[in-house]
């Protein structure tokens, strides 16, 4: 008898928990599900997206939420694997009933979730993947990008390099989609902007190449004026380190997209190479505006570190969600999407508009050169040039062409 009652009690407790869980979730919140890689080297970038998003959401909720509802979010670790990330996204839609999906740094996964979002009619806000296909060839009504992509980086890189006196180039990079996309983007635009440039040769290494030295010595033997390094994600930091060890940066200047980003430079500390040209969406020390300073102070007070580029993506995404729902006037997915199209929001990097045609945030790009600076135990970017969002965006004609229209 006693045993039975114990089981009954347990059952009752479990039931109570389950029941309590259901109405609590249904109680008028806006649910955001984030799938991203939170383990391994990629977490250097993704943690900032999540932490800044939380910072913004906490503020929104403290101020009374959106249309009287609070924003609530849960995260899932994709472990940089497409299958794990995709099933996590499904789980977030089916079981958690999320209103919005967010993520991810892995381009293959971002494209897979984008297809799922299209099928399930759930808005998917991309916060780090740099594949131009997301809002280009594979774009659709339910996907939005809050980060620059390889097409934009290509244009920005070319615009910056065209102003420099180099003519003989060498291209080297990761032998996968991102590497080739960046290299083609920079090179094709550079040829248009400065017809005199000449390509001496190319080298392509495998993703995760452990030893860059033989590549660097072979490139230096060709004596180019400058080198375009098309490497991304986990290979940026090792490459910069190899550049420093071999003295590459002292022999020949090289351009590497994201080289100047805090996430890339911080792990190397003062051992990072100086004089590397890089492009990025954000620096915590630039632009020196009131908005940016306020954002940096808030982020630093909360997490005791400087915000890297991902923080802007996360912070901006939360603000876009709030403003879009307010503009829509009610919590409705289709109205939310209509409102998000063409919406302009004030961010730490100035006003950013979500382009209505391809759902790509028109972010400005900053080109700078790495340098040691007083007061920092890592390198920062100097001689920063702003390349405005309008200039780096692929034209709508290009997007139409990519989508086969």
């Amino acid at each position: 008898m006693k045993k039975l009652s114990w089981i009954t009690v347990c059952f009752a407790v479990v039931l109570a928990v389950l029941l309590a869980g259901v109405p609590a979730n249904a109680a008028k919140t806006i649910k955001v599900g984030i799938v991203d890689c939170y383990s391994g080297p990629a977490s250097t970038y993704t943690n900032d997206v999540r932490d800044a998003f939380k910072l913004a959401v906490d503020k929104i909720n403290a101020d009374g939420g959106v249309l009287g509802r609070k924003i609530e979010f849960t995260t899932r670790d994709s472990k940089f694997k497409v299958d794990i990330g995709l099933s996590a996204a499904k789980e977030l839609i089916m079981r958690e009933n999320v209103d919005i999906l967010m993520g991810t740094i892995n381009s293959s996964l971002a494209l897979a979730i984008s297809q799922l979002a299209k099928k399930e009619k759930i808005p998917f806000l991309v916060t780090f993947s740099k594949s131009a296909k997301i809002t280009g060839a594979k774009g659709h009504r339910y996907v939005f990008s809050f980060t620059e992509n390889s097409a934009m980086a290509g244009k920005a890189g070319a615009a910056g390099l065209a102003k420099k006196p180099y003519t003989k180039y060498w291209i080297a990079g990761d032998d996968y989609e991102y590497g080739h996309a960046i290299a083609d983007g920079v090179w094709n635009n550079l040829k248009k902007m400065k017809p005199g440039v000449k390509l001496l040769g190319q080298s392509w290494w495998k993703v995760g190449e452990p030893d860059f030295t033989p590549y660097i010595t072979a490139i230096l033997a060709a004596k180019p004026d400058a080198v375009i390094i098309a490497t991304g994600g986990r290979d940026c930091v090792p490459f910069l380190k190899a550049a420093k060890t071999t003295g590459f940066n002292e022999k020949v200047p090289f351009y590497m997209h994201t080289a100047t980003e805090l996430s890339t430079l911080k792990p190397l500390g003062l051992n990072a190479p100086e004089g590397v040209i890089g492009t990025s969406n954000y620096f915590f020390y630039y632009p020196e505006t009131k908005e940016n300073r306020a954002f940096v102070d808030k982020f630093k007070a909360a997490y005791n570190r400087y915000p890297a580029v991902g923080a802007v993506y996360g912070f901006m995404a939360a603000d876009f969600i709030k403003k879009a729902y307010e503009k829509a006037g009610k919590i409705n997915t289709e109205k939310f999407i209509n409102a998000l199209e063409g919406l302009t929001v004030s961010t730490p990097v100035g006003e950013v508009t979500m382009r209505a045609y391809d759902h790509q945030a028109m972010l400005p790009m900053f080109m700078g050169t790495t340098k040691k600076a007083k007061g920092y135990d890592f390198l920062i970017a100097t001689d920063i040039v702003i390349i405005p969002g309008k200039e780096v965006m692929p034209s709508i004609k290009e997007i139409k062409k990519a989508r086969g229209k």
């Binding site: 391994g40 032998d175 452990p210 033989p214 003295g247 022999k251």
Partner: protein, 298 residues
């Protein structure tokens, strides 16, 4: 398809030197693997993990001593010893009970160790990149025939032959080396003449793993210390051991030379497709010498 414009005699010479310095790392790691494979008959998949631990330990030790020149040298000595200690515990505690098992069991067992070591590294050092810099006088490069050659690679070129010489001395001139070579051929006979084979095996295992740690510590200043470096090296090390002849130390040297030189020359001659060169070399060797270039001890 355009060929690179940078192929000159000087460039080839320089690229050979760079390839030889890569060979040094590959040889040090592969010779340790080969030693354990030849004498103990253990296909130690966890060898790569010990290499990774060596690199992480080198980082920690160098940072502990202020990250300067002294820290670097201490790291180079202490990190491999630390790895040797870990392997000693593993050998006495676990491996020594398993020598009689079949190879597949041992393979699975050491594979499980790669997972355990991988997670241990994640627990101790986290998932971030770690970076160790070479001492100031070894940073940068100097000119050979007007082409820059990294100083640290020159240091590796000095270390490589020293390790090879040390291994030759160990296996040919010391008692333990001679016993180990005998035990590799006939373990029971060596035991029958009254030698404590178990102790010899422990020593050989520890020396083999010491080499993995040394490889890791040496490579630390040239690349980022991160998870996943264990998988990258173990595949290369096994290929080298296979083309050289299982368990043959000089085979490991030959294999490392083939691997390191085809890699660096491929990068110079045909940079777009450089990735495949070492693997093509492996395929060619195995087509003509399926058992490896030199005599296998198996």
């Amino acid at each position: 398809m355009e060929f690179a414009s940078n192929i000159t005699i000087a460039a080839i010479f320089q690229q050979v030197l760079v390839g030889l310095s890569r060979t040094t790392i590959l040889f040090i790691v592969a010779s340790g693997l080969s030693l354990v494979l030849g004498v103990l008959r253990i296909p130690n998949v966890a060898h790569g993990s010990l290499y990774m631990i060596g690199a992480f330990l080198a980082y920690t030790i160098a940072t502990l001593f202020g990250g300067g020149t002294a820290g670097f040298w201490l790291a180079l000595i202490i990190a491999p010893l630390g790895v040797a200690l870990i392997s000693f515990i593993a050998e006495r505690g676990l491996f020594c009970h398993l020598y009689e098992r079949e190879h597949l069991m041992l393979l699975l067992f050491t594979f499980s160790f790669t997972l355990v070591f991988g997670d241990l590294v994640k627990l101790v050092w986290g998932s971030d990149y770690r970076s160790l810099s070479a001492p100031v006088f070894m940073q940068g490069s100097f000119s050979i025939f007007d082409l820059p050659f990294p100083r640290y690679n020159l240091f590796l070129l000095v270390i490589g032959p020293l390790v090879a010489l040390g291994l030759w001395f160990l296996t040919n001139k010391t008692k333990i080396g001679k016993i180990a070579r005998a035990a590799a051929v006939d373990r029971e006979m060596v035991g029958a003449v009254g030698i404590n084979v178990s102790r010899v095996f422990a020593a050989v295992f520890v020396i083999g793993c010491f080499l993995a740690g040394l490889g890791g510590a040496l490579v630390a200043p040239t690349q980022n210390i991160t998870q996943g470096m264990d998988h990258a090296i173990i595949i290369e090390a096994f290929l080298i051991v296979i083309i050289g002849g299982l368990g043959n130390m000089w085979g490991a040297l030959l294999g490392a030379l083939i691997f390191g030189l085809t890699d660096s020359m491929g990068i110079l001659l045909w940079p777009q497709f450089a990735i495949v060169f070492p693997y093509i070399a492996v395929i060619i060797v195995l087509l003509f010498r399926p058992k490896g270039l030199l005599k296998s001890t198996w």
